[in-house]
């Protein structure tokens, strides 16, 4: 993360990041995460309201980051996946646990974890990560 100790940034994003709160357009029934305040499909006809995601979904693709950006050095290596949420949108998120057991198609559920310390002041960031749902056979 390029930002250093940007408290307003984290404050602004906290609700979405901590509770997976996005939005839903009730005109076209499209869900948005991160939240959009404007439905690009319906434009002025859009009816946007808050929508809370369950955080359950499946892995579309994943990678183990071994050379991290600034701020993530202490947590390397870590796994990042693109996850398709059950409600129908996708996001990027870290997957905890053994990278060897992660695969495309595996189901995941959310967990609340520490993310990283930002900048020399060490503002600690928390948020949602994901863990594999146990005893699930991989579905491609």
């Amino acid at each position: 993360m390029v930002h250093k100790s940007s408290v307003p940034l984290y404050w602004r994003l906290q609700k979405s990041r901590y509770t997976l709160t996005g939005t839903k357009c009730h005109t076209c029934n499209t869900v948005y995460f991160p939240p959009k305040e404007f439905c690009p499909a319906c434009r002025r006809k859009g009816d946007i309201r808050e929508f809370r995601f369950s955080g359950r979904g499946k892995i579309i693709s994943y990678t183990v980051i071994r050379v991290p950006p600034e701020g993530f050095e202490k947590y390397t290596p870590y796994t990042v996946a693109i996850i398709e949420l059950d409600e129908g949108t996708r996001l990027s998120g870290q997957v905890v646990g053994n990278p060897e057991s992660i695969d495309i198609g595996r189901k995941v559920s959310p967990v609340f974890r520490k993310f990283h310390e930002d900048g020399p002041a060490g503002l600690i960031q928390y948020g949602i990560k994901f863990e594999l749902v146990a005893e699930e056979t991989p579905l491609k």
Binding site: M1, V2, H3, L9, L13, R17, P34, I60, S61, Y62, T63, V64, I65, R66, V67, P68, P69, E70, G71, F72, E73, Y75, Y78, V80, A81, I82, I83, R90, L91, S92, G93, Q94, P99, I104, F115, H116, Q125, G127, K140
Partner: protein, 392 residues
């Protein structure tokens, strides 16, 4: 295109780690090389368009247009900076073409420059991630290699693309780059070396990734009336730009870049040509998987067959579609804001027949693809020496 536009001069600095030289030194050198190549004079230039991704963070410098114009001795002409991540300078090129087509200007210098090695390792990686979504990708620890690793893993799962096939992209580009005096890395590598180099972001290793580079490139673009008076102009047949979601995860498919497909379709429509009519191509290989995907999205092979296309040797200098004949981003280096113009400079020299030992025999029509971020911006340009006609 209404009013024709031609490239009449090209130049770029040695690419690499220029610890002793600043961004202004590099951009001035590239501009002087392009101007000398064009046989025009500095006072003929009416506007300067500069592509740059992130000088504000790499070196704390904004206001690149004025900086480059002053040091190149081009005051007081209008000078403007363009930003579209790694596609910054192709976007500058495209807008220069539009400005000449409009009749506003007759001679424009389009340049690109990036000074990346002033930042240390993880800081440079974080800066490059400015090309992605800061709030929703960078925040979970994604890097640029990470984004293309997500694409690679999905392409492998869906189409059976192998790590060996990806490695062959780097092998081909290094082989070509050996002959390029301005390339950052001038040595051959093997598939085994690629596979055994340090893992950056599974499945991509160090040698699947283009490097951190300092460098600058420039071209001189002119209107048809001026081009007719100069030697061997190379015509811009089309330059098309398209956009996709900033974050990779917001796209329905990870195995292709829709912005590339849209820009390519527009270019083929505008020119009446197809991928079969292209003699030589510059294709954005920031990561090896991206060249494989680009070969598919540009129509050189079927979707999913890019890996096999490379494995079958169809991109080498003497094959059906020579790709990245001067080394690509992998070997020449990838100063992000300069790459788009560097590609167009090399393509121009191929079409002029001035590539020496790197020359593709009889190259008349060429295509360049420059990509920004994980594919949120794509610019496809087609150039030709004289008239380009469909081959079949």
């Amino acid at each position: 295109m209404t009013r024709r536009v031609a490239v009449v001069g090209v130049g770029y600095t040695k690419f690499g780690e220029h610890w002793e030289r600043s961004l202004r030194d590099l951009s001035t050198e590239a501009g002087a090389l392009a101007l000398a190549d064009s046989k025009l004079d500095g006072k003929d230039i009416q506007a300067l368009y500069v592509g740059n991704m992130s000088a504000g963070r790499f070196i704390g410098q904004g206001h690149l247009g004025a900086l480059a114009a002053e040091y190149a001795g081009l005051l007081p002409i209008p000078a403007t900076r363009f930003e579209a991540a790694c596609a910054s300078s192709a976007v500058a090129f495209k807008n220069a073409c539009i400005a000449i087509q409009s009749g506003k200007y007759d001679v424009i210098m389009a340049a690109g420059a990036e000074k990346m090695t002033d930042l240390m390792g993880t800081d440079a990686i974080a800066t490059l991630m400015g090309a992605g979504d800061q709030e929703w990708e960078a925040s979970v620890g994604l890097t640029f290699a990470g984004l293309y690793a997500l694409i690679a893993r999905r392409h492998m799962a869906v189409y059976g693309t192998t790590r060996e096939q990806m490695a062959m992209v780097s092998v081909n580009n290094h082989k070509n780059g050996v002959l390029n005096e301005r390339a950052q890395f001038r040595y051959e590598i093997t598939v085994e070396q690629v596979l055994k180099s340090a893992m950056i972001s599974d499945p991509l290793t160090l040698l699947d990734c283009s490097p951190i580079t300092d460098g600058a490139a420039a071209v001189i673009l002119v209107s048809e009336e001026i081009a007719r008076k100069l030697d061997n102009p190379i015509w811009v047949l089309s330059t098309s730009q398209a956009t996709d979601t900033l974050a990779l995860h917001n796209r329905a498919s990870l195995t292709g870049l829709n912005a590339t497909r849209v820009a390519a379709r527009k270019t083929y429509q505008e020119t009446g040509l197809s991928s079969r009519d292209i003699d030589v191509a510059e294709v954005h290989d920031c990561f090896s998987i991206n060249e494989i995907i680009a070969l598919e999205d540009l129509g050189f092979c079927e979707k999913g067959q890019g890996g096999k296309f490379v494995e079958d040797g169809k991109i080498s200098r003497d094959s059906e579609i020579p790709v990245n004949t001067t080394g690509g981003l992998k070997s020449v280096g990838h100063p992000v804001g300069a790459t788009g113009i560097r590609q167009l400079a090399d393509l121009t020299n191929q079409l002029r027949g001035r590539c020496g030992p790197m020359q593709v025999t009889g190259a008349n029509t060429g295509l360049a693809l420059n990509i920004g971020g994980s594919g949120a911006t794509a610019v496809v340009s087609m150039l030709a020496n004289g008239d380009a006609k469909p081959k079949r």
